[in-house]
Symmetry: D2
């Protein structure tokens, strides 16, 4: 079970143009700061937030209770010119969890209903013990030499967007989500998926686009633990310490295994 | 002629994993803050920055001279754990300009060359007088009722990504770029394009996806002036004050035309 | 027992002038952002930070364990061009606690020792259960009409500084600290002090300067709980719901007392 | 003639307690961020802002026109939960300039008048050519070994506050202002003062407190130019390249003098 929080700015569209359209550089500064702050504040409790559409964000929040959500919601109200609503849900797959979480917000009214404010609702019980997060940190091999140093900045961007959309579509079949996190990196909440699922998808993308992907897959009680494990997995692949392009590490076993110096696979 | 600045974090990849992979929520906070700050600092001189890949950003900088670029570059060094390089270029189309600007950075070495630091280079003369910026602010009709309030947050995100990639590919044919700016909005630097180009592209997308796009197109000496005009154009479409889904306003004529209360087209 | 954390930027003086003095507006932006971030990150765990000298900060951290301190220390390293050291201590009075905490940092070397980095040390056991925080939120009566709307901005500032220094000196006799938190407000960690101590001090300041102070005093397990209670106390004074210029509320009893609608004193 | 801008948050007091007192760590994060942003935004035009009371700030803004002020005012409205008012004035001394600037705001109503919003007013003509800024960057000799590494963090803070108040009172006699900028540093706008004025004041403070101060004094067309010169002056004193504890540099002559390698005094 993975816990997902969907965050939505309340009635944001009308605000951006009232009384006149607001300067776009300010809106970009405002939205990016909201995103950064949510990462610091959920991050303080080992959560991880993705910017998604900037006015609708998706966070992995295993281990973070309702009270902490409410405190973050308050903190945004105290520092921003708008308020946010949040829906929280747990499910076997990330896709299913975000769907339930979105519905919890939608039940309370439209994103542009001016009376709907600071919704905070939960689809099902909080999973404080039995849940876990599985995250794949997906990365392109040698993006520096093959894209960044070679192509124009915009063409590199185009390629990253193509890969991203391909990943989104493929991974959705498994109930997984995938977000761009900068550079040539994607973060994929993927509870329930196996290494061979990723190997198959990466093989297919390699055939169709020539781009070779790799992924560290981390498992942990929180998004942070899972993400740290995924990062270490990625480094093991980079250093050639494991075979192949996928390496899974479980936070629970990691210290034991580190002691005995045995590594991937899980 | 449009002036474009390509911004690249120096040797960022290695830094993110030295000595160990850094917490992902911190990296997201760091990257989004860099993006926000660049928008405030270029915005202070009427420029506009797009996050692109977060480690490689693209800005529209007509009217912003070399000295101001250097001051922004210094300010980042003074406040961040890394430095940035910048290439600046002007061209007839945005695509061409970013290409020249990227090449200026690439000439000085690899993005992951640890000795290449704080490049600041210009492909051609600064256009302080004759240049102009044309920006199309593209928006989906009624995204709230058709996507946000209806679909799950992730499915809405998927749809936005599909539209974005379609726009990227279509607009590249015209030498234009298009960036996601949050919600259901895209900003498209498009010097040289006409209203009918957009009408054709939007018609095609409508046919293939069912999604109706609209665009305010703004023309001005700076990104900010163009963007403000584009926003006003968008509002005129929203309020039904112009026919069709595209409305162009030129900052130069705007005050005159506002006086006589005549509006779109340009 | 109150728990205090002293935070020090490592080797900051030399950095500000290497290789050349850095732009002062950048340093101010950098320092204020560090202060803001520490408040968000300690605040996420109900702590409260005071800017003090900006390169040396003092925080009230009851209930915040070593691991959380380490995570905040990491997060700063991940996003700033410098690192921070922290000393943690508990004592009967705030003054004593900060003294022990400072000594813990000093033991590891000079603030400008370039090899001393990211100290994280604890003077005594963490007080997770038996400790408490007592905070007085001190405010000037009617500063708007008597200073802000009347005097020049700088003269108002001068007056606030005078009052502050007076408070610092008086309160130190009781082992209390007092920090300026903006406007006409001071926050005073004051475990062990009584209402009559404050009444005496305020009377004296009234006689000498003509300025009437009031204080909400809050008691709680964490800085946030204490601060919230102090704020409510201040509002009760403002609304004339309690007599006199001091009102103490204890978080533990507050809900009970709210039920019975009895109020100050504690 | 120095140009000063006084900035005031509109109707801030009531907002902080409506509907209930807001979390103090959020208010500190909010206020410090406003301060940082104002420094970035005025800094983009070579201005410099001091936090003063956080809800009332004082900026040195030579060379910054009304339009730029308005754009900064808009940007704050676009990103903060409140608005700001600004008064601008020029005068022979900094003290006089801030006084006139404050009065311009006060004319429009009380700081806590809920209808007074976004005042932007100018006391006298903008000085774009003939004006100049003189800034003294005042610093304590060897604060690290004498205070930071020796005393407790709070006692060091107390000492700094004492020195600050002394400086405020002495310098006011000359029409100068002095602000704490972190560490052991004070920034003092001091148009019209001479080196011997500072030498006399520092001698007196040395006698009374044992603390030896030094000051780089910079003169330039903008706050940034003056501040840079002051910083270089301070380094020259540190390196023993000039005699005594005060060194004045004028931006206008600096490049010439650097060529001939002659240094202080001006
Ligand atoms: N968000 C995030 N981005 C990262 C991380 N590591 C690298 N990046 C980004 O990825 C970009 C490319 O770095 P690398 O993946 O190391 O470069 P590469 O050339 O592809 O090298 P290999 O992956 O080792 O083949 C960097 O500029 C960063 O933007 C990370 O942990 N998190
Ligand atoms: N960056 C940016 N985003 C905006 C702007 N205006 C709206 N948005 C975003 O777009 C989202 C949807 O708002 P609207 O486009 O007003 O909503 P809609 O339902 O599509 O309504 P119509 O466009 O009027 O049909 C908002 O939540 C914002 O995220 C803008 O000027 N800049
Ligand atoms: N940090 C902080 N500052 C506050 C708070 N409440 C008020 N202020 C500041 O104090 C300033 C003055 O507000 P008030 O104290 O409400 O005004 P006043 O005229 O003194 O009114 P009374 O205190 O009711 O007599 C505001 O501009 C704020 O800067 C608070 O809770 N925290
Ligand atoms: N705002 C600001 N603070 C500074 C600057 N330079 C130093 N500081 C602060 O001053 C503190 C003390 O540094 P120094 O003044 O170099 O140390 P010192 O021991 O007094 O050394 P000397 O001044 O050389 O005798 C640092 O921790 C910073 O907080 C500056 O340019 N601007
Ligand atoms: Ca890579
Ligand atoms: Ca829309
Ligand atoms: Ca008050
Ligand atoms: Ca010093």
């Amino acid at each position: 079970m993975i816990q997902v929080t969907v965050i939505q700015i309340d009635n944001y569209g009308p605000w951006t143009v009232t009384p006149n359209p607001r300067r776009e550089s300010d809106l970009q500064a405002l939205q990016s700061r909201l995103y950064g702050d949510l990462n610091l504040q959920f991050g303080a409790h080992k959560g991880l937030v993705f910017y998604t559409r900037f006015d609708n964000l998706i966070a992995i929040t295993n281990g973070i209770d309702l009270e902490t959500h409410r405190r973050i919601q308050d903190s945004i109200k105290n520092r921003y010119p708008f308020t946010i609503s949040m829906g929280i849900a747990s499910a076997e797959t990330p896709y299913e969890a975000q769907k339930l979480a979105t519905e919890k917000i939608q039940e309370h009214g439209s994103a542009q209903d001016k009376y709907r404010k600071e919704v905070l609702d939960v689809a099902n019980d909080f999973i404080l013990e039995e849940g876990y997060v599985q995250l794949a940190h997906i990365d392109i091999n040698n993006v520096t030499k093959t894209l960044t140093d070679l192509e124009s900045a915009y063409d590199a961007y185009l390629r990253i967007n193509e890969i991203h959309l391909r990943l989104i579509k493929e991974l959705k079949k498994y109930g997984a989500m995938v977000f761009f996190i900068g550079g040539d990196n994607f973060m994929c909440p993927c509870n329930g998926m196996t290494e061979s699922d990723f190997i198959a998808i990466f093989g297919d993308i390699k055939d169709k686009t020539g781009v070779q992907l790799k992924a560290g897959i981390g498992i942990g009680k929180t998004a942070e633990d899972a993400s740290n494990m995924a990062d270490i997995g990625l480094e093991l692949i980079r250093e050639g310490k494991v075979e192949g392009q996928v390496c899974t590490l479980n936070y629970k076993n990691y210290n034991i295994r580190r002691k005995f110096n045995t590594l991937c696979p899980i």
